[in-house]
């Protein structure tokens, strides 16, 4: 098992080189002149400025040289100063954020991560748990209800769903407002006296013993969390249900029953582990896709996270921010896949022992 995980980990850098090269290659569709414009804030841009930038950043170097410089940075030919280098954390300047991309990431990532992490709770509870219950009560009301629910979830596009719940639960009922916090608290959390320990608003509120802020933050999270994750509930519900039904039909389940085991033991010991193997695959890609869903969700609910930054960057061709977002999601997908592979090994001895 350990050897298996180490093997998987060793592949990680190889995959990352491939992924970053692909992302970097996309940038190369722009010529040196177009790319130089990303570095010049003046308008109109003069030929002299353009040439200087191309020389300074080596924008007309061969592809691999540029890729290397992009990774580790490049010395300025005049001052000898080291410029760029994503491995050094220099991801360029975000035009839409008006700050270095790395600062933007640091500020906005926790917001998005908090949203995604909280979204996993209903995904596991509603998706996986309800899927299991539906399979165990095949063709009973709970199963029928779950199926209808899954189909509905599938057929609603996120942007329609998001606007719909906003219309109903904010505009009509005023239960769950958009944003991250109510106005009176949003100023308070930026003032001294409120420590940002984790940059997760809910957690920080608890750590500052401000339960009023905690409840307010939770209240603001309800709609975005539901919007972000309902598609994953539906998907996981469907997959869990069908793989449970599949596992329940297997011969070894009859063997287990023939031993006189109770239905509870048969389900918990014999069915569940087998049924979760395909679920692990889907759960992995679901978690990763949450980070794509945030682009729409954060825009709809006005949440200052990574998703809304990416949306803003895309709309105004802010290449540096887009690249950072692409890098981040690529890294996330690769790590989640690694995690899924490890989960396979834990669940399935045929994988673990080859």
């Amino acid at each position: 098992m350990t050897a298996y995980i180490i093997r998987r980990l060793l592949i990680l850098p190889v995959i990352m080189i491939g992924v970053t090269m692909l992302i970097f290659a996309m940038m190369q569709f722009l010529g040196p002149v177009e790319r130089s414009a990303l570095y010049i804030r003046d308008f109109p841009k003069t030929q002299g400025q353009i040439d200087a930038v191309i020389r300074r950043y080596g924008l007309d170097d061969p592809f691999l040289v540029q890729y290397w410089h992009w990774l580790v940075g490049k010395e300025d030919p005049e001052t000898g100063e080291l410029l760029g280098g994503i491995l050094r954390g220099d991801l360029g300047f975000s035009r839409t954020g008006r700050e270095p991309v790395i600062d933007l990431l640091k500020r906005r990532l926790p917001v998005t991560a908090e949203l995604a992490l909280v979204s996993m709770l209903p995904i596991v509870v509603i998706g996986i748990w309800l899927g299991m219950q539906a399979a165990l009560h095949h063709n009973e009301p709970i199963d029928q209800g779950a199926r209808v629910f899954a189909i509905l979830g599938y057929s609603f596009p996120t942007f329609v769903f998001g606007l719909l719940v906003l219309l109903i639960f904010y505009a009509k009922l005023n239960w769950f407002p958009p944003g991250r916090l109510s106005t009176q608290f949003s100023l308070e959390v930026t003032r001294p006296g409120f420590e940002n320990y984790t940059r997760f608003l809910t957690l920080d509120a608890l750590l500052n013993l401000r339960f009023d802020i905690f409840m307010d933050a939770l209240r603001h999270m309800v709609l975005p969390v539901v919007t972000l994750s309902y598609l994953s509930w539906a998907l996981l519900l469907k997959v869990t249900r069908s793989s449970m039904l599949e596992a329940l039909r297997q011969d070894y389940v009859t063997t287990a029953r023939a031993k006189g085991l109770s239905e509870r033991v048969v389900t918990n010991r014999h069915v569940r582990k087998n049924a979760l193997i395909p679920v692990a695959t889907i759960a992995g890609s679901t978690v990763a896709s949450l980070f794509n869903g945030v682009v729409i969700t954060e825009t709809i609910f006005d949440i200052p996270g990574l998703g809304s930054a990416a949306a803003a960057a895309a709309l105004s061709l802010d290449v540096m921010t887009m690249l950072a977002y692409a890098l981040f999601t690529a890294f996330l997908f690769v790590s989640v896949n690694l995690l899924v592979d490890v989960m396979y090994a834990v669940l399935d001895p045929r994988v673990r022992l080859g």
Binding site: N139, Q250, D251, Y252, T254, T255, A256, R257, A258, K259, G260, L261, S262, V265, R269, H270, K273, N274, I277, L347, D348, P349, R350, L353
Partner: protein, 339 residues
């Protein structure tokens, strides 16, 4: 003398969207202590459903035992509560299944799968159960038994897995072992080994055996009596030698004729049974074998024959059993077959 197991008029139906499947249509048989019974029939004849009904393992829905009694230890198993029935399953009556590739759980160790029944029924702790599991595995002929308890099913060959299955079934000293086509999925050489193993264990432990198979040849050396099933009915039942020597049902005769005989004195062409098995969705009103029977007369199409004695302990459900028996004897003389 009271029987160890007495199945009376057992009837099992599956209620499907296409209609009611008449899987088992009132079968009756008995099993004495230490006795072995072979249930023979083709796919869909109801032989598996019959024993699964006895075990209370018919999935409901869609299946249900609709009539009959299964008397074991003075109680009707069909009337037990689920928890009472669980104490019988795996403890008093244990089962070995057809496909050893799929009947063991791929994600649990052999040790875990072997000990769970013992811990449940024999109330022993895990350590003791593991020790006993190792003994059982070496009893069924697995080398390095103790080391293999932590292995997973995919690390065993098909034959080895079936040995594990048998060891597992015997772990709680059942008085009846039901083997549901345990050799069908195995190589021929392994088949013989498994049959031998069960025979040996039966002599050693003394449990009664119900051996289900579609192969009349396999059971010949193993069982004392045979019940032949067709379309959910028992059509002929007799002690094994009597059945081979005085075959008294056209279907049993057909099964024998379609069996290759290596030691036959003259070369004999194999004769297949013509036609297809009956549609179980239709309620049987005439003899279910009539459409495929070369002896069929009008009576066979009007009335379904019930089991009638044709010799001591020999029963046949056929209006024209005498004709079938005559042909069976004729055949026996030409090929010099000895059962």
């Amino acid at each position: 003398m009271t029987h160890l197991l007495e199945v009376r008029n057992l009837e099992t139906r599956f209620f499907t969207e296409e209609g009611i499947v008449h899987a088992v249509n009132g079968i009756t048989y008995t099993l004495n202590e230490g006795e072995s019974l072979g249930i023979v029939g083709e796919s869909g004849s109801g032989k598996s459903v019959g024993v699964l009904s006895v075990m209370g393992l018919i999935p409901n829905p869609p299946g249900r035992v609709t009539a009959g009694e299964v008397i074991y230890g003075g109680r009707d198993l069909l009337k037990l509560t689920p928890s009472e029935m669980r104490r019988v399953r795996g403890h008093e009556i244990a089962m070995v299944f057809q496909d050893p590739m799929t009947s063991l759980n791929p994600v649990l160790t052999i040790g875990r799968q072997m000990t769970e029944a013992m811990e449940l029924h024999l109330s022993i702790d895990h350590e003791t159960a593991m020790k006993r599991a190792a003994e059982l595995l070496s009893m069924v002929g697995l080398p390095n038994a103790a080391d293999r308890l932590n292995d997973y099913p995919h690390q065993f060959s098909g034959g080895q897995r079936q040995r594990v299955g048998i060891a597992m079934a015997l772990s709680c000293n059942p008085s009846i072992l039901i083997a549901d086509e345990p050799t069908t999925a195995l190589d021929v050489t392994i088949q013989a080994q498994i049959v031998d193993l069960v025979k040996r264990l039966k002599e050693k432990i003394g449990m009664a055996v119900i051996w289900i198979t579609h192969d009349l040849g396999v059971v010949a050396s193993l069982v004392e009596k045979v019940a032949v099933m067709y379309s959910g009915f028992i059509v002929e039942t007799a002690p094994v030698h009597e059945l081979y020597q005085n075959t008294s049902h056209p279907y049993t005769l057909g099964l024998l004729e379609s069996l290759p005989k290596v030691d036959a004195k003259t070369k004999q062409r194999l004769i297949p049974i013509q036609g297809l098995p009956p549609d179980l969705l239709k309620e049987p009103r005439h003899c279910p074998f009539a459409p495929r029977c070369r002896y069929a007369v009008d009576q066979c199409w009007e009335e379904n024959p019930s089991l009638k004695p044709v010799a001591p302990e020999h029963y046949s459900a056929c209006w024209r059993w005498e004709n079938a028996r005559q042909d069976a004897r004729q055949r026996m003389m030409t090929i010099g077959e000895v059962a």
